[in-house]
Chain length 205, copies 2
DNA sequence: ATTCAATTTAATCAAACGATTAAAAAATTT
DNA sequence: AAATTTTTTAATCGTTTGATTAAATTGAAT
């Protein structure tokens, strides 16, 4: 109905300007606390144009949220279903992938998880393939190597060690008086620490 | 100015009714998405009375938030500064304390952490004693036992293993098709798993 | 029974917010 | 240059929201 049919360069640029601003504001404040006027201002344009392009706050948000969810899970799902890598390699890949991703996007997990809390229906709607994880190759490899250990328990610990520090980051930094540079260095070190630690965990019992 | 000077039984009960409702709604939806009218309704009374007791949404929220923060940190800080327990005992205490607390209050960490994101100033304002953690006995004990391991790295992993599953709970349950009962059982098992796993981690290198 | 506080009811305010509209202006295409 | 599209401007609409007020009602204490 409205006009951006011809996808010219200017069009793409404006649409992307709005999405860039929306990414920034939504991930910083969450859906409920975000004002469409603030997105427009951050994009350097007016509110009318925002609605002209995306019809509503909710539609714009869903676009951003789907992007973020894909970003968050695309560093996990391909790895745990890779038939060509060892268990150790998978652990190292998951660790490195998440620490790299979250070093560049520290706000990503908290954004997704808090919006899932506020609107579980949306997450349930867009999540396909129920047993993607339980049937994953990663899980099978774990069961073979350590039948005594529940693979999901191990996965939760691995993800907790990788992701939790970034969720906790502002609190942790304040409570331990850790600088931004120090924190980044710590996260780098974790890329080695976590694979070693998880190997030790798998040797237990 | 307003009247609840004589703290009768009815008074306390009403104030507590409002706070109960506020706890429920705030922790479920977060500050921004919470409507004071919804709190009043959940408390079974009217909006006027809510403002009569707590003056504003923000003041009521700060009361709840302080409660929640204390609840969240009071299972950690006393333990890591306990001079009378071993390192192993401290790890077991932290694990058991958090899993018990979060089984009863699964929404607690996400509530606190997402509100810290939305309003870091408040957290910084109410957090005293900067180096409480770096100087903790727990940290010293770790340094003695394993000088090669950064105690804060270890602490992050321990907390990640304890807390992260609850933050991830809705997503995890959906993606692994795990029932509520199954999840609770898993968290129970973690009370044994995590101390064993962290002991193995400390044996590395 | 009277007094005083607690609570409800209902109306209302001012501000914020998402969204829409029409018309002008600027930019791009033809 | 003319036509078309994109963007701005500015006003406005209908709701929602946090908050306040005054008057009525209820309940408990004196």
């Amino acid at each position: 109905m409205a006009g951006k049919q011809k996808a010219k360069l200017a069009d793409i640029s404006t649409e992307e300007k709005i999405k860039d601003a929306a990414r920034t504001v939504f991930t910083k404040k969450g859906y409920a606390a975000t004002r469409t006027r603030e997105i427009a201002e951050a994009a350097g344009l007016n509110l009318a144009l925002l609605n002209y392009y995306f019809r509503s706050k909710e539609k714009l948000f869903e676009i951003i949220m789907l992007e973020k969810m894909q970003k968050f899970f695309s560093v996990l799902l391909p790895v745990i279903n890779n038939p060509d890598t060892s268990l150790d390699k998978k652990v190292a890949d998951i660790t490195a992938n998440y620490i790299d991703l979250l070093t560049a996007n520290p706000e990503l997990p908290l954004f997704i998880l808090s919006e899932v809390r506020n609107n579980p229906e949306f997450f349930i709607r867009v999540t396909q393939k129920e047993n993607f994880i339980r049937d994953a190759i990663f899980v099978r490899q774990l069961q073979e190597k350590r039948p005594g250990i529940n693979p999901l328990q191990f996965l939760l610990s691995l993800l907790g060690m990788c992701i939790f520090p970034f969720i906790m980051k502002p609190v942790f930094r304040k409570m331990t008086d850790t600088s931004e540079a120090e924190f980044e260095q710590m996260m780098l070190e974790r890329k080695d620490l976590i694979p070693g630690w998880t190997r030790a965990m798998l040797r237990t019992k």
